[in-house]
Each structure stands twice: as structure tokens, then as C-alpha cells.
């Protein structure tokens, strides 16, 4: 086995973090390493945490780490923050709230910037999860950006998704309704000491009662998390959340839904890989040769239509493939 692969499988943070970096930077050698690593992945339980900015996702993640460490679970965290579309830079600040675990060797927190991805994660998230899986982390928590309402990428990666809501964002429920129900396995009403928590709970409950999802055996529970500044009661609330996540895990295993989700995940991974192996090289070569610009000009001036262009490109590239 490659020494890097060996090191990662032994839990070495330096090697793992460096590989994640190579994946983010799309270094070609990274793909070869993922291929070698793949056999060692797939054993971790993956939790997604999503919700609007300011909902307290990082604070919850931090508290969950504390709780899960009590159970001696090893943990990986991927925290995603947005890349500025103007400068390409990003401030990755989620880990501030998790810094008290920095020295705990059972916890590995890695921040990712979206780098233009729109689904609430980063293009590198899937493979970064694999790296953490190969490290042998029992649990991997993925914290999404929380900016848009299209944060659906997480369901392709996580086994259980917790959607975090806070009182005073009632309108949000309405706009997020459809998407929310689709992705939530667990609802969290965070900062429930604030005004409006009861109302939020009522709304959510009635929404859940109307949902067809109740028919398939799992009704997303609503976990109420109170004041993070009340250490004792907060810890109890978090234990409750961990308990619900565990119950969902058991449900997935017993109902066969886990295999279903693994299947869905495999499908998504094939699509991603195809995009990486087919589409990206094509686009790259067209960009380098300047043809992409040329095609765009033709389409702009109505000398060609996008479909004909795409067909022409496809034919050419498949021919090349045949020749090889």
C-alpha cells in the first residue's frame, strides 16, 4: 500500500488534511489516491447539519462532539463556509466554536470553502468524507453553508440530516417547506428559550402531520434545544439530540433504508465521477484551445445552436476515445 494511504488509514491527520487539500485544489494525483483509499471507506455514520446562517449549527456541532466523545466515538467534522464570488477568498470561521476540541486527537475538524458550488457543500465534500472514513472516524458531521434554500447536496452524502431552525424565522418555514421536508430526518428547534419557539413547534408539527413521510415508518422528531448559556440543561438537550440521531441510525439499519441510502449515494457518486472524468476534461481542453469562446460567439450570433455544438463536441471526443 502507498505510504500516504497507509498513514491515512492509521489516522494520520497531516496526510489526511493534505489529501483533502489536493482534492479541493483538483490536483490530478488526488484522484489516484482516492481510488486506492476507496476500499477503506464506507464504514462511518454520516450526519448532516443544515439550516440558515445564525441558526447555531456550529455551536450544536461543538456540543454534539462533546456528547459523542463521552461515548468514546471518534469524530470527523467538515464545516463548509461560502467562497466570496468577487475575490475567490473565504473566511472559514465555523471552527472557532469547536476550538476547545482542537487538542483532542479523537476529533478532526476540517473547514472547506464552497469554491463556487451551489448545493450547500463543496465539490470536495464527498471525497473529503471518504478521507475521514478511511481514517476510521466513527462519526462524520457535515455542516453545510446555510445560505440558500437549495441545500440538497447533503442528502447525497449523509445518512441522517438534522435541519436546524430558530424561532423568529417563521417565514422561512413557508419558503423552505418543500425542500425541508425532503431532506430532514430530524428537526431541531434551536435557541428555544427565545420568543416564538412554541409557535414554531406548532407549525412544524402540523406540517409533519400532513407529510406523507409518516407512512414509511419514520416520522422526523422535533428536538428542542434551549439556552446554550445554561450548561446543565443545554447538555441534556444535546444528549437528547444525539439519542434521536442514534435512533434514526438504528431505524435505517433495521428498515433496510440504510442500503437504500447507500445506493442513492453510489448513484450520486457515479454522476460526480462521470462529470469529473468526462465533462471537466472536455471543458478544460476546449477552454485551453480557445474553442469554447469560439462556440460561444457562434451561438451568440445565432450561427449555431447549443445542441448542435454539444453534439459536435461529443462526437469529436468519443471518436478520440475510440482511437485510443
Amino acid at each position: 500500500m502507498d505510504s500516504i494511504i497507509k498513514k491515512i488509514c492509521a489516522g494520520d491527520v497531516r496526510s489526511a488534511s493534505r489529501l483533502i487539500r489536493d482534492i479541493e485544489d483538483k490536483i490530478p494525483e488526488a484522484r489516484a489516491k482516492i481510488k486506492k483509499l476507496y476500499a477503506h471507506t464506507g464504514k462511518s455514520f454520516i450526519i448532516g447539519i443544515t439550516g440558515a446562517p445564525g441558526a447555531g449549527k456550529s455551536t450544536l456541532t461543538d456540543a454534539l462532539i462533546t456528547e459523542l466523545r463521552k461515548q468514546n466515538k471518534t469524530i470527523g467534522v467538515l464545516a463548509v463556509d461560502p467562497t466570496s464570488p468577487f475575490t475567490g477568498g473565504a473566511i472559514l470561521g465555523d471552527r472557532i466554536r469547536m476550538q476547545r476540541h482542537a487538542e483532542d486527537t479523537g476529533v478532526f475538524v476540517r473547514s472547506l470553502a464552497t469554491r463556487g458550488a451551489l448545493g450547500g457543500l463543496s465539490h470536495a465534500a464527498g471525497n473529503a468524507i471518504h478521507v475521514m472514513e478511511a481514517m476510521g472516524k466513527d462519526i462524520i458531521i457535515v455542516e453545510t453553508v446555510g445560505i440558500g434554500q437549495q441545500e440538497i447536496d447533503i442528502i447525497n452524502h449523509a445518512h441522517s440530516v438534522a435541519v436546524v431552525l430558530v424561532p423568529g424565522m417563521g417565514d422561512e418555514i413557508q419558503t423552505m417547506k418543500a425542500g425541508l421536508m425532503e431532506i430532514a430526518d430530524i428537526f431541531v428547534i434551536n435557541k428555544a428559550n427565545r420568543a416564538g419557539a412554541k409557535q414554531l413547534q406548532t407549525e412544524l408539527t402540523s406540517m409533519l402531520n400532513l407529510s406523507p413521510k409518516t407512512a414509511d415508518g419514520w416520522k422526523p422528531p422535533i428536538v428542542i434545544i434551549g439556552d446554550a448559556f445554561k450548561p446543565d440543561s443545554f447538555a441534556e438537550d444535546i444528549a437528547q439530540l444525539a439519542q434521536k440521531i442514534e435512533e434514526h441510525h438504528i431505524y435505517l439499519q433495521q428498515s433496510g433504508k440504510l442500503t437504500e441510502r447507500m445506493h442513492r449515494k453510489a448513484m450520486a457518486e457515479i454522476k460526480d465521477a462521470l462529470a469529473a472524468c468526462l465533462l471537466e476534461p472536455v471543458l478544460e481542453s476546449l477552454t485551453v484551445s480557445g474553442e469554447l469562446e469560439h462556440f460561444a460567439e457562434k451561438i451568440k450570433s445565432r450561427k449555431a445552436d447549443p445542441y448542435s455544438v454539444a453534439e459536435e463536441i461529443t462526437q469529436r471526443f468519443f471518436k478520440n476515445q475510440d482511437k485510443k
Partner: protein, 560 residues
Amino acid sequence: MYFSKEMQEASLKLNKKWADKVQKSLKTNPDQKERFTTVSDTEIKRLYTPEDIKDINFAEDISVPGEFPYLRGNQVTGYRGRHWTFRMFSGMGSAQDTNHRWHMLLREGQTGLSTAFDFPTLMGYDSDSSKALGEVGKCGVAIDTLEDFLALMEGIPLDEVTTSMTINPPATVLFAMYCAVADIKGVPLTKIGGTIQNDMLKEFIAQKTFMCPPEPSVKLISDTVEFGTKFVPRWNTISISGYHIREAGSTAVQELAFTIRDGIEYVEDVIRHKGLNVDDFAPRLSFFFNSHIDFFEEICKLRAARRIWAKIMRDRFHAQNPRSMWLRFHTQTAGCSLAAQQPYNNVVRTTVEGLAAVLGGTQSLHTNSLDEVFCLPSEHAAELALRTQQILAEETGVANTIDPLAGSYFIETLTNEIEEATWDYIHKIDDMGGMIAAIEKGFPQMEIADASYKFQRQLENSEKIMVGVNKYSTNKQHPIPLVEISEEIGDQQIKRLQDVRRKRDSRAAMKSLDNIKNACKKGENVMPHCIEAVKNLATLQEICDVYREVYGEYRDPGLY
């Protein structure tokens, strides 16, 4: 402000004439820049005229000293009876070192003491905590137990000199130590005077010296207010501070607004939880402002502060006692306005800032030393800074008359504008549900972060100028001697602390810590238990650990 319609017409005519001339002149003599702004980026007009203050009602809006709205000061005689207090912030190394510096300052004519503690003390850690690594005695004096505090106060007459202590999360402990020292020396608590800063909200907003979450932090503050009101009547149990908000990069208006809104929060909490009447304790509330480099803006800020607070006390809290409406404050010149380049320039900056504080009517003043951008002040630099304010007081004549700039078209206009912008912020924070709620949302923190980033950018592209930094810079060096705090001071302090732990009656110390814990859990006032605990030589951290255990720890939410 006009006395007749004719006067207004004549004045407007002149304004018009001038404006026309300006337009003509600009064609041949263009302005040096497009916008002329204060350091807070408030735009200033080329000229102010009677038209700008035409709506001012002298009796209601300006009035005379000692009368509502106290714009012109609380004292009817101004600085003629006594100058502002010369109060230089100082503390370094061990308690003995600091005591030595204090005696020097008192000999040189300082009239009040002001204590700087080191970071472990400020954060509630003992000198031998792993968190204290490299920090002991560096930024101020290290205090672990009552033994240190006794050494600090050696030879200081507690019933004559007032002492200010810049201490926040562990304020109960240091206040308790002061009371314990008074007891030991046989000075009644009714005779001692001083101030503890004890303003936690600004820590969450700006300075980040925090320990417990906001709510219990405010509870501990209310404990000291209650205890002070009942037993230590000459003590200012809270100094509501804008200084650090400004140093964190806020504008003048943000400094004023967040500070005043913090004050409202404290008053509400004491009334709600301690059952005190506003007039019982409001006269002992004190404030602490920054005096930055923009001369007029600072004067107007301080004047506006008095008028706003008086209105809040009268209209919001229905105070009856005029003293409740007085905004009394200490001022420090702006550390963040000083530059490491060409450090002697700092003396000039400090002089201008000190002058602004005096013209704004401060009750007490610290003037920064020229070397404070590098390290703690040297003895010579501290003396020069003290002399700076003594020259202002004794030679310049600026204290001869009260509020000398009142009535200026510009000063009154800017005072009004600052007041209005301040009310906007106060109302906004009211709408959020108060300051604690606003802090949880990160509102004041982000407002300050935005302002400081904007200023830094303006400095980078020379929209704002710092002499010697981004203009008139030179390679010529005029180095100044710097104070170095040796690492050995930490070792000695740790040894002293461990000696105390060895020789004390540990059972008694632990018992009194238990009493504090019980008081915390029951919501009782912790102060009497703290005094007992420090007398039993419980350490600063041991007491703070009780708070952390019961109330939880607050950690930097890292807003950027």
C-alpha cells in the same frame, strides 16, 4: 436661535453671497479632496452658520451648568473649585512593583489611583494556570490572593485616595479584596471610595475579556451594585465603558450609543432583580469614554452623552434625583490613535485628545504615554503624560470658563447630529429586545467590525492620514527606551502564590468557596461570601472557577 425675522433674512443673504463666492473660488482653487470627514467618517460642512442652529431652544436644549439637560456639565462651578482628577492607569509586574510606581505618581501630583491588572487576573486565572503562560505581570499587576492585594495597597491611605480598578469578570473578587483590606486596616467601608469597571456587556461587544455568559455576568454586576449601594456608598460599582468599544474600531456614535444602551441594560436589571429604586443607585453609576484624535467630534460626543443620559434617566426611568441624571465620566486618550512610527508624535496627539476631553467636561483623565504602543509606560514617559494634563489644567487657561465652545454653530450642530444618530442605534437595539439580545445576534460586534475595516481601508488608500505612518514617513529613527518585564516576575509570583496555598487554612478556604457556590445557585448576593473567601485566602481563580462551574463558560463566538 434668531431673535427676529429680519436677522434671519440678513443672515441668509450673507450665506448666499458666501456660497456664490465659494463656487467662483473653487474654479481656480479646488479643494484638496472631495470629502471632508471626521475620523468616524461623518461628513463636515465647509461652514456652519446661524441657520444650522435656528431650531435650538437655549433654555431647553443647552441651558446652564447644573441644570437639565446637563449639556454644559453637572457642576455649577465647573473646574474652578477643583480640576478633573489626574488619574493615570498603571500597574506592572508584582504588587510591590506597582505599589512603588503608585507612590511615585502620588508624589508627582496625581490625585487618584487607577489599576491595570495583568491578563490572567483580568480573565480570572491564577498565575500558575497553564492559560497564564507568558502573561504574568506583563500588561499590569498580577493579583492571586489577598496577600498580593495587601502589598499593592501598602502605605496608601484608603480613606483619602480613591482607587479605580479596571477589572471585569472577576470584579466581585477584587471589590471584595478592597473591602477586606479596608477591614484589616480598620477603615470603615463607608469611608473608602473608588471604582470597579465591572462592565461586562462591552466585553462581549468589544474587548473579549469574558468568563461567564451575558446573563449571569449581569447578575454578578447587579450584586456589586446592590452591595455598594447598601454598604459602600462612596464606591462607583460600575464604570460603563465606551473606551474599549472605540479601541475595537467603532465610530464615535457607535461608542456613545452602545455604551449608553449598555447602561440602560444594567439599570433595568438592577431595578428588576434587586428591587432598588432608580434613585438609590443611579447617582453612583459612572462612565468611561475614549478621547480620539478628531478634536471637535470628541468634544461634541461628550457633550451629547450628558444630554442623552439625562433624558434617559428622566423620561425612561423617571428618576427624581438630579444626581441620577448626571453622567459622570472618566476619559482616556485613544491608544489606537498612537503610532509606533515616530513615537514622539504621540505626545502631541495625546495633548490634543486630552484637551478635547477637558473641553468636553470630563471628571477624570488618563493621558497616554508615548511608549504605550510598544509596552507598559516607562517611569519617564508616565511622568511626561501626567505633566501633559497638568499643563492643560494649570497653564492653558482652558479650564477658566465652563463649556467654552457652547453656542458655536458648528459645535451645537455636530452635538445634535451625534445625539440623533445615537438615538437611532438605541431604538434599534430596543427593538431587538435589548443589548443582551443584540449581542447574541452579533449586532454591535458586526457594526464595529465593519467600521474598523472601513477605516483601515481608508488608511490604506490615504483617504485618512496618520502622520509618520502613511504620510511624512521617514527612515530616520529616534528610538525611545522601552520597559521590559522580565519572565522571572512570573516565576516569583507563582512561588508566592504556592506559598500562600501551603500556609493557609485550606478547610476554611474551601468552605467559603462552597458558600459562594450556594449563593450562586440560590441567586443570592455573592459579595459577603466573596469577602469571607478572600480573607480565608481563597485564590482569584478558585472563586472564578466556582462561577464557571455554576454559570458556564462563554467562549469567543468569533464574529468577523
